[in-house]
């Protein structure tokens, strides 16, 4: 009897496929550049010029037949003309359309995330847990999350639930000219106003108070449902509910009021206040995807997402991508994405808010706009991973370019490259 049981167990071991056969390493890098004329740092006017370089390693390690540990570590370095104008009076004539050389002109974001996933013996259940830490000069984030996935109907149907928690803390950085009017400031007696001459309203006296709550907590729960509809078609639906609490304003984004006289140093208008937004926000997003294997040469990938929140923003996103297999090694990826959103209730452009308003922002990322994005990519895949770097074989290379244009002055472009290696 015991021999029979042992044989059955051996048989299970033989036929149980590993979730991940060998260690995989992904290296993903990108170069991003943007420009526009509606910088939030300078109250809705001024340059939005910014460049960013990102590099990320993702290492997936099979711990045994059922468990996979994934470590995701990345850095992102940016230089920004816009955020340099948190302190625009460092050198030369100050202007919202010129970069300054201040400390806020660049920053480094770094992140590490660990994810542990366990699959059941029949591969119909997957549990995962993750933790992340990320840091910037003025921001620190701690994240925790988990998910559960259940497959059934001969793996034709999949349902999943996931939950995430982010506990974030700001190091509040305010516009230079407002700091003398904060706690322990000495107003117009500050050295800043001795070094520089105020024009326009020379009795500059903003009604500025510093934030007392510097924490931001985000909670999210997501439901997913995917279904095979045909041997060439599959689709999915997802629902995400997100609640955010705490400091949701960005402390260095200026606001100018229409009912307050304007003060200037050089060509730079001094802030009347910083943006003030509610300390809670609920977001809901519904998404759908449909992928269709049209032929051995063509695949059609589509998605749609509807979003709304209690700040008054409604948004639609639609994407279509048409991978075209040129050979067994090369595939090209033309794509198009459309996005639009309504404005937040608290948004108004430069000099359009009133000082009597409770909440206000001139951040054009919260304004009404539509955007078109065109993309093109090419991938190289070698399933035998013949090219080697040490003990790792190169399995694929992905190169992509995107051009994104709003119906305002804002646009960005991005080039990204991804390399996938598998251990021998």
């Amino acid at each position: 009897m015991s021999m029979l049981i042992a044989q059955e167990q051996d048989a299970e071991k033989v036929y149980k496929k590993r979730v991940l056969e060998t260690t995989e390493v992904d290296f993903i890098s990108s170069y991003y550049t943007q420009d526009g004329d509606n910088a939030a740092v300078s109250g809705g006017i001024g340059t939005e010029e910014l460049t960013d370089v990102t590099a990320t390693f993702i290492v997936s390690i099979p711990l045994n037949d059922d468990d996979v540990l994934t470590i995701d570590a990345g850095v992102s370095a940016y230089t920004s003309a816009s955020s340099s104008n948190v302190g625009p009076f460092d050198d030369g004539p100050a202007s919202p359309f010129q970069a300054s050389s201040g400390a806020s002109s660049s920053d480094l974001w770094s992140n590490i995330t660990g994810n542990y996933a366990h699959s059941s013996d029949d591969r119909n259940e997957i549990w995962s847990a993750k933790a992340s830490v990320s840091s910037e000069y003025d921001y620190f984030s701690l994240g925790l999350g988990g998910s559960y996935t259940r497959l059934f109907n001969e793996k034709n149907t999949e349902v999943s639930v996931n939950a995430n928690l982010f506990l974030d803390t700001w190091k509040t950085i305010y516009p230079t000219e407002l700091r003398p009017f904060g706690a322990n400031g000495n107003g117009l007696s500050d050295a800043l106003f001795n070094r520089n001459t105020i024009t326009g309203n020379t009795n500059y006296n903003p009604n500025f108070t510093e934030f007392t709550d510097k924490g931001r907590n985000s909670y999210s729960i997501g439901l997913g449902f995917s279904q095979i509809l045909h041997k060439n078609v599959q689709g999915s639906l997802s629902l995400d509910v997100i609640q955010q609490q705490g400091l949701l304003s960005t402390p260095f984004q200026r606001v100018y009021f229409s009912d307050v006289p304007d003060s200037f140093i050089d060509d730079f208008q001094l802030a009347d206040d910083i943006e003030r937004l509610p300390d809670a926000r609920t977001k809901i997003a519904l998404g759908g995807r449909l992928n269709w294997y049209l032929s051995e040469r063509f695949v059609l990938r589509t998605s749609y997402r509807y979003y709304f929140d209690d700040w008054g923003i409604n948004s639609h996103t639609a994407t279509v991508e048409l991978p075209i297999k040129l050979s067994d090694k090369f595939t090209i990826y033309p794509s198009y994405r459309y996005y639009n959103q309504t404005a937040a209730d608290y948004f108004a452009p430069y000099e359009a808010h009133l000082s009597t308003d409770e909440f206000y922002t001139s951040d054009y990322d919260l304004s009404e706009y539509a955007a078109n994005q065109y993309g093109f990519g090419i991938s190289y895949t070698d399933i035998f991973a013949k090219v080697h770097v040490s003990t790792f074989g190169l399995k694929s290379i992905d190169l992509k370019f995107y051009q994104y244009d709003r119906d305002t002055t804002f646009s960005f472009s991005m080039v990204s490259a991804g390399f996938k290696f598998v251990m021998d």
Partner: protein, 70 residues
């Protein structure tokens, strides 16, 4: 908002399988370009969207957290 949420949940769970595709018939569905989620190579463009668009997720900006404020 509650009505909208309930409507969305209703749609999500009202769908059910109408066909069963066997494992040996899934060769096309297993094509890497048929994956239903975002690909790893697309993560940085998704980050850019989360920075510049208001309809973002819980983590404000970048994957793994961050203010998304620059």
């Amino acid at each position: 908002m509650i009505k909208k949420t309930l409507f969305i949940i209703g749609i999500l769970f009202s769908l059910s399988s109408c066909v069963v595709v066997k494992e040996y018939e899934k060769v096309n569905l297993n094509d890497p370009d048929m994956v239903l989620g975002d690909k790893k190579a697309d993560r940085n463009i998704a980050t850019a969207h989360s920075y510049r668009e208001a309809a973002v997720g819980a983590n404000g900006g970048k994957t793994g957290g961050g203010c998304g404020c620059n």
